[in-house]
């Protein structure tokens, strides 16, 4: 039956063509753009990028955010997943509430936290009521980089922990209940069970969560922009500025390449570090 041998190819063909046009092709073009300057192949765009005053700061800020946000998110999501596992009543409701931010965009999350952290916002009103401050204080300004950083970290944790939680809860469902029961029979405490059963068997899910979150975290942009404008430069923000304000798509593409290389490197590191042997999977 030639017909049914051809069928799968006909079915995947549209999506392959689409991905070639809107993924592979722009990818190649981005590389081309980044390595071309004034009509010839050159590293000029990268030199311009590295030479820019905001480059070092944005690179440092982005890495700092990823390094602080990701571990906190994984820890928080693990805690939430364990709590859900113990829950008997109202589990569905709690789960829904905890996953609400899944639908909240990074821009909206930034604006939500702006309403809390602005000078006349709820944080300052609370601090005022407690007698800590006596007039509106500006936390999100250039002069207060630590407070701005903390604000962005809060907004990122608020927004993007939900996706980690969903992946981990899905992973939890794949761990056979018998394992925990057996461990309990042998007298393992809650902590031992967590370390010896939950964590190892959750490794594949942790790996996907880490990859997904890290790639997205290196793309952080709108949260930062909503809270601090350009007071806290990050890599994607710089790419956006070079594109929009400076009309220089070469340097913007150079930033894109840099972000991509970092994302791919992070993905490879996770695949390496959290490798699971096929027979060890649940």
């Amino acid at each position: 039956m030639t017909n049914s041998r051809l069928l799968p190819y006909l079915l995947i063909a549209p999506s392959v063509v689409f991905l070639i046009l809107l993924f592979i092709f722009p990818l190649v073009q981005t590389i081309g753009l980044a390595f071309t300057d004034q009509g010839g192949a050159s590293l000029g765009n990268f030199r311009k990028m590295v030479g820019d005053i905001n480059f070092g700061v944005s690179l440092r800020n982005t890495f700092l955010l990823v390094a602080v946000v990701i571990p906190l998110q994984i820890g928080l999501a693990l805690g939430m997943a364990v709590m859900l596992q113990k829950m008997e009543k109202g589990r569905d409701l709690v789960l829904w509430i905890w996953t609400i931010p899944l639908g909240v965009s990074d821009l909206a999350a930034g604006l939500v936290w702006l309403s809390i952290l602005q000078d006349r916002g709820y944080l300052n009103s609370t601090l005022f009521a407690l007698g800590v401050i006596d007039s509106p204080t500006n936390w999100l300004s250039y002069e207060n980089p630590t407070a701005l950083f903390v604000g962005i970290v809060l907004a990122e944790i608020w927004r993007a922990t939900a996706i980690v939680l969903v992946i981990l809860v899905a992973g939890f469902q794949l761990i056979p209940k018998e394992y925990f029961e057996a461990a309990e029979v042998f007298g393992a405490t809650g902590w031992t069970r967590f370390r010896k059963i939950t964590l190892p068997l959750l490794k594949p899910s942790l790996q996907s969560a880490l990859i997904l979150r890290t790639v997205l975290a290196f793309e952080v942009f709108a949260v930062v922009y909503a809270l601090g404008g350009r007071n806290f430069p990050v890599l994607v923000g710089e790419a956006y500025t070079w594109m929009r304000d400076n009309q220089n798509d070469g340097v913007a593409a150079a930033y894109a390449i840099l972000i991509m290389v970092i994302s791919l490197a992070a993905t490879l590191v996770y695949i390496r570090l959290l490798r699971t042997k096929p027979e060890a999977q649940a």
Partner: protein, 267 residues
């Protein structure tokens, strides 16, 4: 009540508050208008809240058009990702064919790339073919974000529908296509709807590509981003609130599928 139980409940309630309270606060901000935003110190009670503030926001030039564009883009993205992704998912679920691994790799690979950033070179192409600054152009880029997800999720959906049902339909004289439409599709429909809604949310929330690819025909996110620095606070809060509402409702609608989708889609 034991201390342990007390700590546990406190933890759960704190985390619920951690999610819900910020949304409540921006809602007050959105409905309180100018007066509310500048009130000091603020109370947690929505004293200034009125529908008028929201009406004023919706009447600002460009807001309505941007919201409409967002809906159009997200709806197109939803349509494209299901139309392109579901057949691929069906192929992955029902056939073993040469190149299957390569195809899966292509799909998974998209996840290691910051896809939205690839919109940068697309501006040039889009200007050339007339897609720049159109809802269709943005929808295409958003589909590239949602399609890999749609393909993987629908493949797991189809895998969950027994092959025997389809084969029985063939025995009774249905063609492959008829069997699919009459037997498989009705069973897969709720899951496909959930996939579609997820594609909608992905598109509705996307900022970077939408901002780069449009000038006048902005989506709501792109519009808010570009006017952010010059707009008053109550305006920003109203915008943020409007961004949040539909996605939260949609996530509620698909909550049943969320875990099944991610459980398999992340393998």
């Amino acid at each position: 009540m034991s201390t342990k139980r007390f700590l546990y409940l406190t933890g759960v309630v704190t985390l619920i508050a951690w999610i819900v309270v910020p949304i409540y606060l921006i809602a007050i901000g959105a409905f309180s208008g100018r007066a509310g935003v500048f009130r000091w110190p603020k109370s947690l009670w929505p004293a200034d809240a009125s529908l008028q503030a929201m009406q004023v926001f919706m009447q600002i030039e460009g807001v309505w058009n941007a919201a409409l564009n967002s809906v159009i883009v997200a709806a197109l993205c939803m349509l494209f990702s299901v139309l392109l992704g579901a057949p691929a998912g069906y192929a992955l679920a029902r056939f073993s064919f040469k190149g299957q691994t390569a195809y899966r790799l292509l799909i998974v690979l998209t996840r290691a790339f910051p896809l939205a950033i690839l919109a940068l070179p697309l501006t040039v192409n889009f200007i050339r073919i007339g897609l720049y600054d159109t809802t269709l152009g943005v929808a295409l880029v958003h589909t590239a974000l949602a399609l890999p997800f749609a393909a993987l999720v629908s493949s797991s959906l189809f895998m969950g529908i027994p092959r025997e049902l389809e084969e029985a339909a063939w025995v009774f004289g249905c063609s492959r296509f008829q069997a699919f439409v009459k037997v498989v599709l009705p069973l897969a429909l709720p899951g496909l709807a959930a996939t579609a809604i997820f594609a909608f949310v992905i598109s509705w929330n996307e900022v970077f590509a939408a901002a780069v690819l449009t000038v006048r025909e902005r989506t709501l996110t792109a519009y808010l981003l570009t006017v952010l620095s010059e707009s008053p606070l109550h305006f920003r809060f109203a915008g943020g609130f409007i961004l949040i509402v539909p996605s939260v409702l949609f996530i509620f609608a698909v909550r049943k599928y969320l875990f099944a989708m991610w459980g398999i889609a992340n393998r």
